[in-house]
Amino acid sequence: MPSDFIAVGGVDFDAIVAPPGVSFADWRDYLALLKPRVMSLVVFSAACALFTAPGHIHPFIGFVAILCVAVGAGAAGALNQWYEADIDAVMKRTANRPVPAGRVAAHEALAFGVALAVGSVVVMGLGVNWLAASILAGSILFYTIIYTVWLKRRTPQNIVIGGLAGAFPPLIGWTSVTGNVSVLPLLMVAIIFLWTPPHFWSLALFMEADYAKAGVPMLPVVAGEAATRRQILLYTLVLVPVTLLPWAFGLTGAVYGAIAAVAGALFIVRAVAVFRNTATVATAMGPERALFRYSLYYLFVIFAALVADHLLLA
């Protein structure tokens, strides 16, 4: 058992021999299984799409749709932590998660994840519509089976293809209102899909040692720092023009176009700084840390700009 048991409860749980079926988990451990920080970005992108979609949705049904997206994302996080407990235990960043730390048993995390996944899809279908529920089910299955089980341990392209699962939420938010798919939500999906590699590879650069220790074939581990930095710049140079397409196609106004252009230019500046950096030790990877932090704000700004532009046009 990790030392935080002593810190949190004032009790040394190292000394305890747990009988089978007895759980030491606090409710916060189950909350941690849902990866709340990842969930916040998922919820935000889905909510922005829901607000910008044409048509009307009852506020309570809109709330149910966003709740189902949040719970579905949490379910995917719990299933991910169930399957990756062995990797998480090796990596410093994740070693204290509830399953590798021993506070939640692996089978409990699996049952928790499956129950939430089924529950979120069924409630979405019954309460909102079955198209949104189908996309939600697809994104949970994609993240769990395609990304977590299949790709993550096999290919450095894991987060590129797996990133599609994280890109679905705007489509779910949009279809919750409209019941059909159109160009703007697909562009939102493309934006998150293209944003994912620069975001995760900048993290992977300064966490490379951790990934190497866990045997996860992230791009810096397999192809080296220089190739990863080149790929980050290339994806950024594709991402920024794609963020301008909603404005170029006349789907949004100039407010969104201006914000996306400025935010995109700042993204490129940071990606170029990463490209020019030659550091191989994490402590000298300031540009990579800066890009990782900025990429989080960037996505929030882009989606908030979509909503602001929509409200202004309305």
Partner: protein, 45 residues
């Protein structure tokens, strides 16, 4: 089931179990309200 815990460990275990039970109770209550709300909105529509 006999377990060899100190009083402090037993107290901490009970605190955590209670927190889980309270959270589960609140969750079930929220589910009831959620289904009630969906039903009402659907009936109005």
């Amino acid at each position: 089931m006999k377990v060899d815990w100190t009083p402090a460990q037993t107290a901490e275990f009970r605190r955590r179990r209670r927190s889980r039970n309270v959270a589960l109770g609140l969750l079930l209550g929220a589910l009831v309200l959620l289904f009630f709300g969906i039903t009402v909105v659907r009936m109005i529509k």
